[in-house]
Amino acid sequence: MSDTAVHSQEPQLLEVSIGPQHPSTHGVFRMNVVLDGETIVKLKPVMGYLHRNHEQLAENMSYLASMPYTDRLDYICSMTNNFAYAMAVEKLAGIDVPERAQYIRVLMAELTRLINHTLLVGFLLNDLGAFFTPTLYAFREREKILDFFEATAGSRMMCNYFRFGGVKADLPAGGMEQVKEIVKNYSRFLDEFERLLTSNEILRSRCQNVGILSKELAVNASITGPILRASGVNYDIRKVDKYSIYDRFEFKVPLGKVGDVYDRYYVRILEMRESIKILQQLLKQMPEKGEILSAKGAAAAKSPRMWKPPAGDAYGRIESPKGELGFYLVSDGSPKPYRYHVRPPSFINITILEDMCLGQKVADAIVILGSVDIVLGEVDR
């Protein structure tokens, strides 16, 4: 037993280790839970099973070479990981991004948000005990977006699509039509999804008033993303930073009132609807043609090992589907970053797991974990 194991004191308590090989820990994650009957009296998350040395690896290779590695952080939303990393490097080296590339970036980021939230709802329902139906409906729709990613970036999940100062390639012929089709059908799919789920009494009674996260705790624990907004804090980096071209779109930030699992579920559904609004505006505004990679960026992409940003540091952050995803880079003027740090939203959001789970049933802990939306690739890095 490692030193992180929880030792129960009283004989009545049952000590259970949920994970790392457990059907619903979303990867190799372990929760050491002490149960009184089925009620949780203590919970300790154990992480690190999937640690891959991401930051140290990045400090030993060129800036661009860690771009494909960022795909593998949160492997569901590789596009937004690319986005945040590219932003950090652009800030560091002072690279501008051409107009059309900005639009493509936001397009990819919002499509990624759709993928992530749809999948999350599917997996959450799996944790709730539904027999894969919502998950497979989510996969069905995600497939269409992944097809578009494949046509554009060349890969379905590990896109490696963003470059410093733009993106790797322009949309393919017919790509625009593909996106328009996706955006047009997505809200119809969301309606179907909601008909299946939102009014379902079992889902509601399983989710409402479960795992309540108070506003104060959420802010103190530096929680970000939909979880924070479900607790009623109006903080969305797309609105706060107005990075990229998010100031050109009209969209709202849905906020929950209670901060329980149901709010976290529904805020995500509403965010998807807002994302669809952004995409609709974006498709109207997007310039037909244009540069997709600035000249400075092209130089960096053509010979990454030779490319040296000026010495200094930069922190680039975006509102990834899971929360604030930030990359902090320190450059000493060499082709490799001196310090490379990731602020992974999953990892920071998982820290409040015990606070949300105490006093709940063991079945709730699984659901709460599902509603936090972690990807172990990002938690353990």
Partner: protein
């Protein structure tokens, strides 16, 4: 009242159940893999291959070692050919890619100044043994440029156009005579990596 939401959800599943029979095109998303295969997109990238023109001996690669140094997981291993005097030739003697390590990022293709390495569409590469059978040697990697033209016609057209503009015609003559590209000033391989 308890139950109507459940019934609503059940109507959705029933609808999908019926749809899968009456209109399988929309109601069923399965691709029955070994018989049916999904068309991969043109830009789909999986594992790299080497391009040759005409005969396998006439490969574009000049063993400049850029790809092997840029490769993030360092899965490419190159030894240039040497002539009898021990002088380095612009041709690889050994060109190995460990497909077990390669992570399909496509950076080798992007950085190659000689358009010699491209990402393939081949994805059925399952092997029973993972050490030697996934280590692809030069002979396994070499494919004709026509193969590239077939799988990625758009990219082929674009690349051939730029090559023609720069006056590079295959590799009948060593590329040393070709005018350097704009970015090539930075590309001379450094002594240290």
């Amino acid at each position: 009242m308890f139950g109507f939401g459940v019934l609503k959800g059940m109507s959705v599943t029933l609808w999908n159940f019926i749809l899968s029979y009456v209109y399988p095109k929309k109601g069923i998303t399965t691709v029955q893999y070994p018989e049916q295969k999904k068309e991969v997109e043109e830009r789909f990238r999986n594992f790299p291959f080497l391009v040759y023109e005409g005969a396998p001996d006439n490969m574009r690669c000049v063993a400049c070692d850029i790809c092997s140094k840029e490769c993030p997981p360092k899965c490419i291993y190159i030894i240039p050919e040497k002539d009898a005097q021990g002088r380095v030739q612009k041709k690889p003697a050994t060109f190995d890619i460990d497909y077990a390590i390669c992570m399909n990022c496509g950076i080798c293709e992007e950085v190659c100044p000689f358009d010699a390495i491209f990402m393939d569409h081949e994805y059925e590469l399952a092997e029973y043994e993972r050490l030697s059978s996934l280590l692809y040697h030069k002979e396994d990697l070499l494919k004709p440029v026509e193969h590239f033209a077939k799988i990625r016609p758009t990219d082929y057209g674009r690349i051939e156009a730029t090559r023609a503009a720069k006056g590079v015609k295959g590799r009948a003559q060593p590329v040393a005579g070709a005018p350097p590209k704009p970015a090539e000033t930075q590309q001379s391989p450094p002594a240290t990596s």
